[in-house]
């Protein structure tokens, strides 16, 4: 156990709830791994955007890492930077977001969050519960993962009579979601369901609905599995009957697999796809972590 290894972890900066969860879990697992393996050094670095994440990867490389775990803020722009590291024979684990070419030339391990599934599960749920609902959507930021979720959603509701009234960007931000929802409420006299794609934004959505005292909205579907929303599901809140899981803890999974690969010499390779589980009242307690910041 005295073998010395260094794992570099590059993740996006905590710029909204989900990413803050990522940072939380990355730090948590880093500490845990370093306790388990005294020779192991895990360096966690956060970056606000793709360009600076490319820099961070370079800087980690400079510090002499043996393996890189990366959750790219925007995958395509980072492919080149990741390839640089990979080309030096380092072990690379890619988390969550896949670039357009996602093969062995880019990474050794791919722990995939399933963005299309996140949309699809939400869409299917809505289509099954309220087959002719009129839905408004609040999107995130205009980047590919957001697009993938939208496409997934459209697939989920395909064939049903669910009608999408509008989609606008809420930037994964509570305040912006509040505004967008207020305007939806002004614009549409009748809304059945809101899909807001992210738990952070759901906070703003719920406040806007409450303020307008509108009763036509049957429920809100968000996603990611933040403790607040999971709690609501657990408590049987009418407005939040379900949540779609997209666990920020997946970065920890990747880190653990990577460490295992380094120490046990078991080549951990390939693709692990995490499910976008539907959190319901029945299974909610399994996904409730009260001391996570997210």
């Amino acid at each position: 156990q005295d073998k010395k290894f260094t794992i570099g972890v590059s993740i996006p900066a905590a710029d909204h709830g989900w990413t803050s969860g990522v940072v939380f879990h990355a730090e948590r697992i880093a500490k845990k791994l370093m306790e388990e393996h005294p020779g192991l050094n895990v360096i966690v670095k956060t970056s606000p955007d793709a360009a600076s994440q490319a820099n961070a990867v370079q800087d980690l490389d400079t510090q002499g890492i043996d393996a890189l775990v990366i959750l790219p803020s925007d995958p395509d722009p980072l492919v080149n930077a990741i390839k640089e590291v990979k080309a030096k024979g380092k072990y690379v684990a890619l988390v969550d977001r896949a670039p357009s070419t996602n093969d062995d030339s880019v990474r050794d391990l791919y722990v995939a969050g399933n963005n299309p599934a996140l949309g699809e599960v939400a869409g299917k749920y809505i289509a099954s519960q309220t087959p002719d609902a009129e839905v408004v959507i609040i999107r995130g930021l205009p980047i590919p993962i957001d697009q993938q979720r939208q496409d997934g959603f459209d697939k989920g509701i395909a064939g049903s009579k669910v009608k999408v009234l509008d989609r606008q960007y809420g930037n994964w931000n509570r305040d912006d979601a509040f505004k967008v929802m207020q305007d939806y409420l002004t614009k549409y006299p009748k809304i059945d369901v809101v899909w807001c794609q992210d738990d952070d934004m759901a906070v703003g959505v719920l406040q806007a609905i409450e303020q307008a005292k509108r009763t036509d909205i049957k429920y809100v579907v968000a996603g990611a599995g933040s403790k607040d929303m999971v709690k609501k599901v657990m408590d049987g809140d009418k407005m939040i009957p379900v949540d779609v899981l997209y666990p920020p803890a997946m970065v920890g999974t990747a880190m653990e697999l990577t460490a295992a690969g380094l120490y046990d010499q078991v080549p951990v390779r390939g693709t692990f796809v995490l499910d976008a589980t539907l959190v319901t009242k029945d299974n909610a307690k399994d996904f409730y972590f009260p001391d996570s910041p997210f």
Binding site: V23, P142, Q168, R174, K179, K187, S292
Partner: protein, 334 residues
């Protein structure tokens, strides 16, 4: 020569000039209201306009403070992160439960927030004036500091007001209304009236404008230039604190992303309202008009049915430019 006769004749002219310039933002506002009414009939409904006015409260109040700073020839980029920081402190205090009685606790938290805002402003002011650093850089630095401290306080996540008692007690501060007028609108008007009074009717207000238009002249006139500038930053901090007082009851929580880019919006509101970035003239009422215009543009975009969500940003930018061109042509024609 008959000075009096001349005087009378002349007096009217420049008034027309000045008025038009002050009125221009309001003309742009009216234009927008007309456009909005054409886009969506719900637009001119009381509810919608009240919604818009209410939610422009944060930016409007911050921008009123920015009017002071900008009039004095400075700039404050840290306001957005200051909102996040001060709001976090406020919620943490209320969560700490040091005072058992919710009402007392709320009062203490409000006072604390005002003090915290003023101190943040003071820090900006001192670094800029005593440290003699360009305000752009100084406040960019404190922007990083306040935002970083917020992220650290929240450990990257959200800080949520826990006590339901305080929450119920505090909620009306944003969602309530006084004589049918939503509280935030009342607060905007009150803050602006006080600010206008200070800027136009007090010695300090004169000094602000003098310092902003020529700090040498101000110095030679015995004005304590650094003190005037520092106080402007403190006023900005107080305005941020007031915005926080409205912000916290709305969502009951903050995170490291609270208030991102609000500084840019506040400065834009000030400039759209007719205050020049070079300093030396402040238009407080124009500023809140500017804040309202910005919020309206976003609102119209969302209520319109024919614009792709991808293009909203582009159209928004174009509308701002067009609104300014309309203002310009109005002033020029005078």
């Amino acid at each position: 020569m008959s000075v009096n006769e001349e005087t009378r004749e002349i007096r009217r002219r420049p008034w027309r000039d000045i008025d038009l310039r002050a009125v221009a933002p309001f003309a742009a506002l009216i234009l927008l209201l007309i456009v909005g009414a054409m886009v969506n009939p719900n637009f001119i409904g009381i509810t919608n306009l009240a919604n818009v006015a209410t939610r422009c409260a944060f930016i409007a109040i911050i921008a009123v403070g920015a009017t002071f700073v900008i009039s004095a020839g400075d700039l404050d980029l840290s306001v957005g992160s200051m909102v996040a920081f001060v709001a976090s402190l406020m919620i943490l205090l209320m969560n700490s439960g040091v005072i058992a009685d919710p009402t007392l606790m709320l009062v203490a938290a409000v006072l604390f927030t005002l003090v915290a805002g003023a101190l943040c402003g003071l820090a900006n002011g001192l670094i800029t004036t005593v440290g003699r650093i360009e305000p752009f850089i100084a406040t960019l630095g404190t922007m990083g500091i306040y935002r970083g401290l917020t992220t650290w306080l929240s450990q990257g996540g959200a800080i949520t007001l826990r006590s339901p008692d305080i929450q119920t007690l505090y909620r009306p501060a944003y969602f309530g209304s006084i004589l049918g007028v939503p509280v935030p609108i009342v607060v905007i008007l009150a803050v602006t009236a006080v600010a206008a009074f200070i800027l136009y009717r007090t010695r300090y207000g004169r000094h602000v404008v003098a310092v902003g238009s020529n700090s040498d002249v101000a110095r030679y006139s015995g004005i304590a230039v650094n003190r005037v500038r520092t106080i402007a930053f403190v006023i900005q901090g107080l305005c941020v604190a007031i915005a926080v007082l409205l912000y916290v009851p709305r969502l009951g929580s903050t995170s490291a992303t609270t208030g991102i880019l609000w500084e840019l919006q506040a400065i834009t509101a000030v400039v759209v309202g007719g205050t020049a970035l070079k300093g030396g003239a402040g238009r407080v009422w124009g500023t809140i008009c500017g804040a309202f215009i910005l919020e309206l543009v976003g609102n119209i975009m969302l209520l319109s049915n024919f614009i792709s969500e991808y293009l909203i940003g582009a159209i928004q930018g174009a509308i701002i430019i067009i609104a300014m061109l309309v203002q310009r042509s109005l002033v020029r024609k005078s």
